[in-house]
């Protein structure tokens, strides 16, 4: 079994050189995922000079760990959005997300991108009478949002269903192939792409300047296309970071279901789809078991639960891939897309929940329009500076009480273990040395990797992620390698290393 995503394994590596000079452009984009590359395309196509700075490789962040589904509905349910907002809002959400799917298709057709894009039905499936009442509410909301929805009593799955909500003409694709191909087409056409160019500092102002290790980009506008914006921003108090797990399995029967299937289950649904690789191998993908980042001990068990769920419903031959992905839920269930405030030249795109491929594309469309001075019909719906305290209060309080509780776990003279010598190979534990907390990981060759356990974003104590072998911050979702390098999340600076000589 491979511990990577099927998308990453089925896409060719990209080779863009790191930023080695000082550039001056109209728009600097932090992050080379679907949001950043689509925005780069739209802005360069409109004549703007653009630089995309990707810390790893194109699509290497969240895009490469997604499920490759594009749909008009939302993870958090349209009927819940409708109850929070109104029918006009869910109409806008459905229309904007439908437009984003069409945008993806237009780009694919325009550049003849080979990424397995195909239109397919979306199904929300209930297995129980209780879940069917939820499904009925979502069905009603879909109709009121202007979507052509149907209730079926059958679905192309090999297990009993009570009912299925169906929406035709949604889409699936290989997100890595799409983003990498789009990057290839836009590179050099007004858009310069740099990989392995982590932004180490941001100077906001007029102009804005992004600094990397070996160069800088001066830009009129900055787009944070990093899922969670980099640095300390008020919007982080409005976001809840979550991780989810994905398995890609082969079936004995060879009878793989078509379309996007969300199977209702309390408290979360499972997302199921089929993917056929370039070599013709088919896989059944199942995603589920979400939890707050950095707050699940022994998270390997999430894969066990996911596999058990899969095996109860499908004739599984073998699990071939497994990976995990991160998403951020917005306090009022709508993403934050646009300028930080009406006169700001800094744009953010976050709070997509598990709907990031569609919302990422939509964010690129909205932000591009804002920068180009084109009126976008949905910019106000998703504006980050919107004020709706009553709609926001519930999750805002829940998430920030949770953050406060995480801070209270930073008790002096208390860590996972007293000495690093008690840490066995493959294990990560926090340890207190001379009054300071460190994150210690002993690799399989017994070498100790020791970094500060204090998150460089807002100073929570990081927790060990057993599955991904990373240090994850339970407060705002920053993640670090065992050597302290930022993987994702709002943190900009790496965790400082500590010498491992003369340790207790």
């Amino acid at each position: 079994m491979k511990k990577t995503s099927v998308w990453k394994d089925d896409a060719e590596a990209s080779h863009y050189s790191p930023l080695q000079t000082d550039l001056n452009v109209d728009v600097a984009i932090i992050g080379g995922g679907i949001t950043g590359i689509t925005a780069g395309y739209l802005l360069a196509h409109a004549g703007k000079s653009v630089a995309v700075l990707e810390a790893q490789q194109i699509g290497g962040g969240t895009t490469g760990f997604s499920t490759g589904n594009l749909y008009a509905v939302v993870d958090e349910r349209l009927y819940i959005l409708q109850s929070k907002f109104d029918t006009d809002t869910i109409h806008d959400v459905a229309a904007s997300r439908t437009a984003a799917i069409q945008q993806v298709e237009n780009i694919i057709r325009g550049f003849s991108i080979d990424c397995d894009f195909h239109r397919t039905p979306f199904r929300l499936i209930s297995e129980t009478e209780d879940d069917t009442s939820t499904l009925q509410r979502e069905y009603q909301a879909c109709l009121e949002a202007g979507l052509e929805a149907y209730i079926d009593t059958m679905a192309p799955v090999p297990f009993y269903i009570n009912a299925a909500l169906r929406i035709d003409d949604q889409a699936q694709f290989n997100p890595m192939q799409y983003v990498k191909a789009l990057a290839t087409h836009i590179q050099g056409t007004g858009c310069a792409i740099f990989e392995h160019s982590k932004v180490v500092s941001i100077k906001e102002g007029s102009p804005n300047i992004l600094y990397t290790e070996n160069g800088s980009v001066t830009a009129e506008n900055i787009i944070h296309a990093t899922h969670s914006p980099k640095g300390i921003m008020a919007v982080h108090s409005l976001l809840g970071p979550y991780r989810e797990y994905v398995l890609a399995a082969k079936l004995n029967s060879g009878d793989y279901p078509e379309g996007i299937c969300w199977v209702l289950n309390k408290p979360h649904h499972y997302s199921i789809r089929t993917y056929t690789s370039k070599s013709g191998e088919s896989y059944l993908l199942v995603l589920g078991e979400p939890h707050k980042v950095g707050q699940k001990e022994a998270n390997e068990a999430c894969f066990d639960s996911l596999e058990a769920y899969l095996r109860r419903r499908f004739d599984v031959k073998s699990v071939e891939y497994r990976w995990s992905a991160q998403h951020y839920k917005a306090a009022d269930s709508l993403p934050y897309i646009g300028a930080l405030h009406p006169k700001s030249s800094v744009y953010i795109a976050t709070g997509f929940a598990a709907d990031g491929l569609t919302y990422g594309t939509l964010a690129a469309m909205i932000i591009s329009d804002l920068i180009l001075g084109i009126k976008n019909p949905w910019s106000e719906v998703y504006a980050p500076h919107r004020h709706n305290p009553l709609k926001t209060a519930g999750r805002f309080i829940k998430e920030n009480v949770n953050v406060f509780a995480q801070y209270l776990k930073d008790i002096p003279y208390h860590a996972d273990v007293e000495t690093v010598s008690s840490i066995v190979p493959g294990e990560g534990k926090t340890v207190e040395i001379e009054g300071e907390k460190f994150a210690a990981y002993r690799d399989e060759s017994a070498e100790l990797h020791l970094v500060s356990a204090v998150c460089t974003h807002m100073k929570c104590i990081v927790n060990w992620n057993e599955e991904a072998k990373s240090w994850d911050c339970p407060c705002h979702g920053s993640r670090f390698t065992v050597d302290g390098q930022v993987i994702e999340g709002p943190a900009i600076a790496d965790l400082p290393k500590k010498e491992t000589n003369n340790l207790p």
Partner: protein
């Protein structure tokens, strides 16, 4: 009410001394202590404000010192959480003002 405020300020002071040691040694402050110290002191201050509205004479000198100390404490918290270095003089000034306020308050209560 004033006795409860004194008790809370005394507890906050103990935690504050503990935090000050970390700051003076250029070490990360334990956030559990930081986030107990601040709210405990804030509750003490609120009680003192309520007392000052309800009774005469009011411990005005003490109240003024605690309010200035609280502003300093809030500034220190923001600097700490946002990863900026905390000026040692600010931490010492904050502590000194709070201790002075505490002494005035105890003297007032006696």
């Amino acid at each position: 009410m004033i006795i409860t405020a004194i008790d809370l300020f005394a507890f906050a002071a103990l935690l504050g001394v503990f935090l000050l040691v970390f700051i003076l040694k250029n070490k990360e402050t334990p956030k559990a202590v930081t986030f107990i110290h601040g709210p405990v002191a804030a509750i003490g201050l609120i009680l003192l404000i309520i007392y000052s509205f309800q009774y005469r004479p009011a411990p005005i000198a003490s109240l003024a010192l605690f309010i200035i100390a609280a502003i300093g404490g809030a500034a220190i918290s923001v600097l700490d959480i946002t990863g900026k270095s905390i000026p040692k003089w600010l931490a010492l000034l904050h502590g000194s003002l709070a201790v002075a306020g505490f002494i005035f308050l105890v003297a007032f209560a006696l």
